[in-house]
Symmetry: C2
Subunit: 407 residues, 2 copies
């Protein structure tokens, strides 16, 4: 099985086009704010949603539209979450209709998402005016990047990833775009992720695949501990690769899941690294945990600690805060078996052995922690399970960004 | 029943003396680092501890020493947590011995606490040198304030509170000191709180009283979501007020609990307001929740949201973040029944009714939010339960403080 990373994102798969434009929801005209992704043919669809009880109107409409397991289009705006608005449902329905009218796709085959400020009315007229140029510009060259740009909020870079692989001798593709960057924490789907593939796979197995995958990927990313009201992961699979339809958890399904995981894990890193105000990506690798839940709780707790995030911003090897975060993580662990080391491209340094500090060279530690990607390695020495989580440092810039976001 | 706030803290009760000095654990000679509180007679004792699985050595020794329900002294150092050190237990035992030797109190009647950096060896020799002046300076005038200062870490002000009241016609007192300021979050005891009272009350009812009280007070304070390894609340009750010993949950017990709550709630506000880098106290009052757990989860979630804390730092009425935090709080609630208003000494403004935004004057909202104490009022309109929680805004200064804390 060979899975290759390739350039591009949502339009690498056969039969997908995308586009992104500035239509006027955002005041800054250099910022795109409306994205669309369309499949030439009906696609199987699956999705996971935010677990926040306060859900954006777009989520209600998407859930309704994909209940039959198929869809052909995704429309998404940034700049306004269309959440906690009295007319939210109506506006979301209207957005689907606008896409349907412009493309001859049934409005019930449109997935809709919105991201941005909560509780401000979304002006449908600017979207209506933008639809013709959005649709006429659909393409499979730079369309994916345009769409990736149009779903950004405080993201500083668009996030794309794609892979190719073979199933039944047929060349298959899977790619995706994602946006962060604040409000990223537990319990999928706390961000927007749109994935497309030309693999032929049933809706139910597609749902299985993403529901399993997010537990170890997007649910393991945290920027600030806030879970958004709006975010979702959606995947469209249009079958144009012409492999035999995947209907069981066979070896082809395993390859598909692996390809999916390469894309999602890559997007996780990109999201964490682009956390609001972040200067570095923090990855926590937990090994030898008693069970999988403990491994995940431990890794997630470490990358979520505001105290550790602040210390790593200053490249300070304050490993006591790692132990502290492990202690309140809820993971099953034995404090006297824990080993901790810090790792980066500049080297690796052991700072804690069997739960106690060891002598280490502070200058070497600082050099290791000053890299832009830092790995916190934790060996719980208590079992066979492992997990990774991704976060970022906490910076003064985070506070600046989030103080002035709305006004 | 009249309960009066009075000046002072741990030495207002009959038979208690305290002191705090600089002995040399902290490099800055203007910062006290060693505190002691002593009762003239044996006192009943109760305590609650951090729920972090990684516990400081002092907690292990304190638990052992108070298992018989009595104690006479509390010794506490700042500047070093004596946690994750191979010789931690030995050092903690030695600290108790030093107090015992200098006071003729049994070493098993000494409560010990430490706060500061994790994983650095604690030099017992500087404590040993400091003990004579610490003990000789014991007094009931400024001793409580000295002790309050000596337990501070990044706290900017000492925190003290005291009350007087009558039981059985006898004048009684209860007072306490506390320290914050980072690493303050859920699940008691995530900070240091030392309380003393001259009330006669059994150890088991004393334990009942504080275990109940912290659920609505110290467990409802959050500065940064990190739960420390070391912190605890301890109360000594020496009975010198000569009321009839409280042994059941009668009306005297109720008065005692009320007096306790006035002191603890006051200390909670002081701790939250002195959160690292904070410029304002944020109180969240939730009313009409379906059950008490939901009321508490809702209030705690709101004051813990990094996004809301950042917005309130900028006096931005971003009420969508309040709804968002309610949605992921785990509280039972109906999104379409939620009302939200912001309140301060500058007025009150409704921003959300039945889950949807209402028109409001941004200038008035900004004026209300620019006060140093801001209340987020939430009516869940779904039952009869209420809860309050206390936190602070998130500032660039928080990041600065915690980046450079260890080095």
């Amino acid at each position: 099985m060979t899975i290759n990373k390739i350039a591009g994102s949502v339009t690498v798969s056969k039969g997908f086009k995308a586009n992104g434009i500035h239509c006027g929801i955002r005041k800054n005209k250099t910022k795109k704010d409306l994205a669309v992704i369309i499949s030439d043919v009906q696609a199987n669809v699956a999705a996971v949603y935010t677990q926040n009880l306060i859900k954006g109107a777009p989520i209600t409409i998407t859930k309704k539209n994909i209940v039959n397991g198929v869809a052909r289009a995704i429309i998404c705006n940034s700049g306004n979450a269309n959440t906690c608005n009295a007319d939210g449902i109506e506006i979301a329905e209207k957005m689907c209709e606008l896409v349907a009218d412009a493309t001859n796709i049934a409005k019930t085959d449109v997935v809709i998402a919105s991201t941005g400020v909560i509780g401000q009315a979304l002006d449908i007229s600017v979207i209506e005016k933008g639809i013709p140029s959005l649709i006429s510009g659909l393409n499979n060259t730079n369309g994916g990047t345009n769409a990736a740009e149009a779903i950004m909020t405080t993201d500083t870079v668009p996030k794309e990833c794609a892979v190719s692989f073979e199933l039944d001798g047929k060349l298959c593709h899977l790619g995706g775009i994602a946006k962060g960057v604040g409000m990223i924490n537990p319990n999928m789907a706390t961000l927007l992720v749109f994935l497309t593939t030309d693999v032929a796979i049933s809706s139910s197995l597609l749902q299985n695949a993403i529901s399993d995958d997010v537990k170890g990927t997007f649910n393991m990313v945290s920027v600030d501990g806030d879970t958004s009201t709006n975010d979702m992961l959606v995947i469209l699979a249009n079958g144009l690769a012409e492999n035999n339809l995947i209907t069981t958890t066979d070896s082809n399904y395993a390859i598909f899941c692996k390809a999916l995981n390469i894309v999602t894990e890559d997007l996780c890193r990109k999201i964490a690294f682009d956390g609001e105000g972040a200067t570095k990506l923090i990855q926590c690798d937990v090994i030898n945990a008693k069970d999988l839940v403990s491994a995940r709780k431990a890794a997630k707790s470490v990358i979520s600690s505001a105290l550790l995030k602040s210390a790593l911003n200053a490249s300070d090897a304050n490993w006591g805060r790692v132990l502290c975060a492990l202690g309140y993580s809820g993971a099953t662990l034995n404090p006297e078996k824990i080993d901790v080391s810090f790792e980066s491209q500049n080297g690796t340094i052991l700072v804690c052995k069997n739960g106690y500090g060891v002598d280490f060279d502070e200058n070497i530690a600082t050099k290791i922690l000053s890299a832009t990607t830092v790995i916190v390695n934790i060996n719980l020495n208590d079992g066979d399970f492992k997990a990774s989580a991704w976060g970022c440092d906490l910076t003064e810039e985070y506070v600046r960004i989030n103080g002035g976001y709305r006004t």
